[in-house]
């Protein structure tokens, strides 16, 4: 790796983006001193191209586009290990949420489409049915992701074990649930919620 002198200034930092992430997450990005403890305990680090401590460093250096375009934020399992162990009380799990929201709102510049697809279907299920129906979630995911054969062997077994419901009903309060989604959208339109 080429070593070059690092320049840290308010110009290279892009304080605007750092402040946005700090406001969304309620956690400091700047307090991190790169001890690496978060990454040492992160179960997902081997699946990420950049481990959690490096994500924070990128943010400090103003390289947020790299973070949003990468896959790492979508490979975070929200296990909260990093947040639990950080000596500086950097709430990295909340920062990951904030970064995913930034990427999501920008219609996902990241290449990691499968995790985003699963998230989207999960949330749509809540809006339409009120509850999660695993069978429907898995079936629609397999069709939309083009992985028709995935888990083919698992399905029938789970049905005979009574673990997947073929038929299900909507919640009775589905109109109220729709209202929650609609009111959140209205708040955002008025600029009164992030």
């Amino acid at each position: 790796m080429k070593h070059s002198k690092m320049r840290l200034s308010t110009e290279t930092m892009n304080l605007g983006f750092v402040r946005k992430v700090e406001a969304l997450s309620g956690s400091s990005v700047r307090r991190c001193f790169q001890c690496g403890k978060c990454s040492a305990g992160c179960p997902m680090r081997s699946f990420m191209e950049h481990p959690p401590n490096r994500i924070v460093r990128f943010l400090q250096l103003g390289q947020y586009e790299r973070v949003l375009a990468g896959r790492s934020i979508w490979y975070c399992a929200s296990c909260e290990t990093c947040t639990t162990r950080c000596p500086n009380k950097v709430d990295l799990a909340a920062i990951m949420d904030a970064l995913r929201k930034c990427s999501w709102d920008a219609k996902g510049p990241s290449k990691e489409s499968l995790v985003q697809l699963a998230n989207r279907l999960f949330i749509e299920n809540i809006r339409t049915y009120g509850r999660q129906y695993e069978m429907r979630l898995a079936a629609v995911f397999n069709v939309k992701s083009g992985q028709f054969l995935k888990d083919l062997m698992l399905g029938p077994k789970l049905i005979t074990k009574g673990k997947l419901r073929m038929f299900h009903q909507k919640n009775r309060n589905i109109a109220e649930i729709e209202n929650i989604f609609a009111r959140i959208e209205a708040l955002r339109k008025k600029g009164e919620a992030p």
Partner: protein, 296 residues
């Protein structure tokens, strides 16, 4: 159900999985609590808490879904008993975050068109058993001690994290599961992976992640001499039980490790009929082990 006869009463939030892939967790929870005379009254029309996908991309939605459930729970009254570790974490985080963030609370109250409820505590089943009901009473209720079982208690991520929120037990070295199952006469093992992530909901989008992480957990439990694993979360169960065969094929190791919900074994110990505990819906058949130890 007549609440007056019960020693304790709670509103009950089963969560989505308990109505489908984790129905044995629901059945055994109801059976156990009935046997212990702890009342569980299901929250009417509860909805999905949003789990990980909602908070991952939309905190306000996640907080609002949970706040709506908390207000539905008020219609029943009593503290809220939660079975799933992920639902427990989300509901509890919601109360915690909204208690000290007025701006977020106002947004959520607008979204759900109602007040956020802080009066009733969110409690995981383990907490109810260990603290409210008490281990002494639990031991006294045991008819069939779980002798011969060597249990690896698996906490996973969310029962004790984030540290300032669940208040269930120590966030790095919890013992509540060991104490609860120990009170029913089981032996517990000391092992390395009891708080490592199982791969959680990557089971849908990136199952390769689950094969690796859950494989490590199974291997660790086996190495510690456990003959079964105990869980308190339907997602952990799905990954360790339903995908165990696949994990064995991918890793070339054989585990044959039954994965129980803690309520299944506790209910068995206090004398609930095995036929009511959903052992037949587990993918790794636990009956050979339970028969060998004379428990069924």
């Amino acid at each position: 159900m007549t609440p007056a006869k019960n020693l304790l009463n709670y509103s009950y939030y089963p969560g989505c999985s308990l109505h489908a892939s984790a129905k044995e967790y629901d059945e055994s929870t109801r059976g156990l609590f009935r046997a212990l005379k702890i009342g569980l009254h299901e929250v009417p029309d509860w909805l999905c808490c949003g789990a990980t996908p909602a908070h991952n991309v939309d905190e306000l939605l996640s907080l609002s879904l949970c706040a709506k459930n908390l207000s539905l729970a008020e219609e029943v009254g009593g503290d809220l008993a939660v079975a799933c570790a992920a639902c427990f974490s989300r509901l509890k985080v919601t109360q915690h975050r909204l208690a000290d963030n007025e701006e977020k609370r106002r947004q959520v109250e607008y979204a759900i068109d109602g007040k956020v409820s802080f009066d009733n505590k969110v409690k995981h089943l383990l907490e109810i058993l260990a603290k409210d009901f008490g281990l002494d009473r639990l031991t006294a209720a045991v008819r069939k001690p779980l002798e011969g079982l060597k249990v690896a208690c698996y906490y996973g991520c969310l029962l004790t994290r984030p540290p300032e929120v669940p208040e269930l037990d120590d966030c790095e070295a919890p013992t509540i599961m060991e104490r609860v199952i120990g009170a029913a006469g089981a032996e517990t093992v000391t092992w390395s992976h009891r708080m490592e992530c199982c791969g959680a909901n990557f089971t849908l989008s990136r199952p390769g992640v689950v094969l690796k992480l859950s494989g490590d957990i199974l291997a660790s439990a086996k190495a510690a001499g456990a003959n079964c694993i105990l869980v308190a979360c339907p997602l952990c169960h799905g990954n360790l039980d339903i995908r165990q065969k696949e994990i064995e094929e991918a890793s070339g190791q054989w585990f044959g490790m039954p994965v129980f919900y803690m309520t299944q074994l506790l209910a068995l110990a206090v004398g609930v009929a095995p036929a009511k505990l959903g052992f037949d819906s587990m993918i790794v058949n636990p009956l050979p082990l339970l028969k060998e130890k004379g428990l069924v």
